[in-house]
Symmetry: C2
């Protein structure tokens, strides 16, 4: 029996993870769940999966949940301490599915408890990749991917000598503005940015996919997850989102992992490892029906965020954390209708340019860089609270 | 040092194998070479790679070669016994790259000597799959693929639990008549049939690719090489020949092996195993330049040979050997201008229909079925010698 803890159980990845766990109750159980404010859904999940521990954001929601559960075997905690408690609960696998930098401390706590962590929450590695890897090494804990691209790479690396690897190529759908002009992008509404052509995801990651920063973050994620030279990580636009990524070996042979765009497939792979769980009722991948798989080079003019991520990775230290922080503020401002779509990358660029890079090997240093970047970005986007 | 013997060293696979060996003289050496009548090329190869043993078809050519070589350290033999001698020469790997059923006895001899055999010569497994596998098992020798599709499947199976396999999907370029009408195919010349759109190959396999019987043979080959249920082997037309085959797992995840259509890549993979040899100077696979990879269902109306192969595999016993024999005769007749292109499959169908199936577990039984099928096919195509 594998005990699974989910950080972010009511989000897109969290609910799909529970859907998969629900199919394999004979081998997977839920140790703990953490959510934000969706008490109703968390209540339902807790009743169905009976974890030992659940956490919500506010004290009030915790009290409401405790009452509604009326089950002394399920402990209810709250706040950022509650989140850390859930992450530290003894588990075989902790699903890091929170959104944004918020997920960093819980992931560090899970690693310190010796749990293996599956990361969907890519901002954690973007913000503090080196620190997180050091912590994992010290604790003897492993980090495995839970992003469709990185699970694809993992499947293409399995069983082949690592020294023969030439490079990896991440695929990107191109997002909703793949064919848009710069003028159209300047006038883009949140609704347009959220209309992802192939994947159904949360709103933060959908906007990041529209700017292609999400793909830039995946370059950073791949760099840490697979210990790659940043120059050996490429990106190709593949509008159908059927090939989830490639690996190229030194003999010119490529391996690709493919499938319908359904996160339950990579989630089941990560939950099942080293076994492969059967998902017989998912729609079949119909290549003949799809007819063609297309490939294009990414346009760095219209999608400058992709270049920013590469630059931040090359700079290293606190630069990726600053890019992430500025982007979180800018995305929120765009979704609130305060800045145009193209100002998201422009904001991040300004904040990144002004930032004095520090090594970023101490959590406090990262937190401070993150805080300042948020402050600076807040001023640029005219955040009311600044 | 890995000692490699090549059966069919002057053919397309043979020369490319030597090209790859020439790049890795520090780890690969040539133990023996067998060719047919291209004495000039074999002389050159023997001088360059200095095998202990070489064989040609005729006694006269053997004498000429012996004189031209003037090297007592290289023994020259001839005829079918010479071929068996070469196959039996102690080697780490025997490349089975002869054309047609002719390759069966040498492959059996190589296996009996305990050598691992890499099979490009797919007619061997088509004719006597079960017998060849029994022989390999008895001798404790292994059979590995040397066909781009099957090397692709092997790479997609490596590192993944076998019980999780759902099926394999072989890709086919569709050949030169992919878009031809049945009328155009009826009038097709040998020159048109030999003009393969993506791969440069010998003439027999090029015609088999034009009828799609080659893909049918690959289904049979895959059945034996990977111990698959014939119903778990599918075919999809992929005109660009970039994806060399797919494997589908039970979670809906597919793996594909890809690369430019260059046989040196699968040859290097097979020669290098378990290492992956570097081929840095091959042209890069440029997916963006190619732009799209297309997929179509095979048309069994225009390409009945594909259905015939499946039927022969389902029937089992001597049926695939009979199909292969009839096809060899019909292809030769087509290349000689004696029958139209569409009569190739029609001839095989008639011979297959009339054949009384035997178990096919004894070499004599297979030889007899083969002989009779050739005779019958010869009568149908109006062979002068019959």
């Amino acid at each position: 029996m594998k005990a699974v803890c989910i950080l972010g159980s009511t989000g897109s990845i969290g609910t799909q993870t529970l859907e998969v766990i629900g199919r394999f109750r004979d081998r997977l159980e839920v140790s703990a769940l953490a959510a934000g404010s969706n008490v109703e859904l968390l209540l339902e999940q807790a009743k169905q999966f009976r974890p030992r521990l659940v956490s919500v954001h506010s004290r009030e929601d915790a009290a409401r949940l405790r009452e509604a559960l009326a089950d002394p075997s399920i402990r209810v905690v709250h706040g950022s301490e509650g989140l850390i408690e859930v992450a530290s609960e003894p588990s075989d696998l902790v699903i890091g599915a929170l959104v944004g930098r918020l997920g960093l401390e819980p992931v560090l706590a899970a690693l310190r408890s010796g749990s293996q962590v599956a990361l969907a929450n890519k901002e954690v590695l973007v913000t503090a990749g080196q620190l997180v890897l050091q912590e994992a090494k010290r604790a003897g804990a492993g980090i495995v991917p839970l992003d469709s691209e990185h699970v694809a790479i993992q499947q293409c690396l399995a069983g082949h000598p690592r020294e023969a690897l030439r490079r990896v190529v991440l695929t990107a759908s191109g997002g909703p503005f793949r064919e848009a002009t710069l003028q159209q992008m300047e006038a883009a509404t949140p609704e347009q940015a959220l209309a992802h052509p192939t994947w159904e995801m949360g709103s933060k990651i959908s906007v990041d996919s529209a700017t292609l920063l999400n793909k830039g973050f995946e370059i950073i994620e791949a760099r840490w997850l697979f210990d790659l030279d940043p120059d050996d990580i490429d990106v190709v636009i593949h509008p159908e989102s059927i090939i989830h990524s490639f690996v190229e070996y030194r003999d010119g042979s490529w391996l690709a992992q493919m499938g319908i765009p359904d996160m339950r497939i990579p989630i089941a792979y990560t939950l099942g490892m080293p076994e492969r769980l059967p998902l017989p009722d998912l729609p079949a991948l119909d290549l003949v029906g799809i007819g063609q798989l297309r490939f294009e080079a990414p346009d760095l003019e219209r999608f400058p965020a992709l270049g920013l991520a590469r630059e931040a990775l090359r700079t290293g230290g606190t630069a990726p954390a600053v890019l992430n922080a500025a982007n979180e503020v800018a995305v929120a401002a765009f979704l609130a209708g305060r800045i145009p779509f193209t100002a998201i990358a422009a904001t991040s660029e300004t904040v990144l340019e002004e930032h004095t890079v520090l090594p970023g090997l101490m959590l406090d240093e990262i937190r401070e860089a993150d805080r300042r970047a948020r402050e600076r970005a807040g001023r640029i986007v005219g955040e009311p609270s600044v």
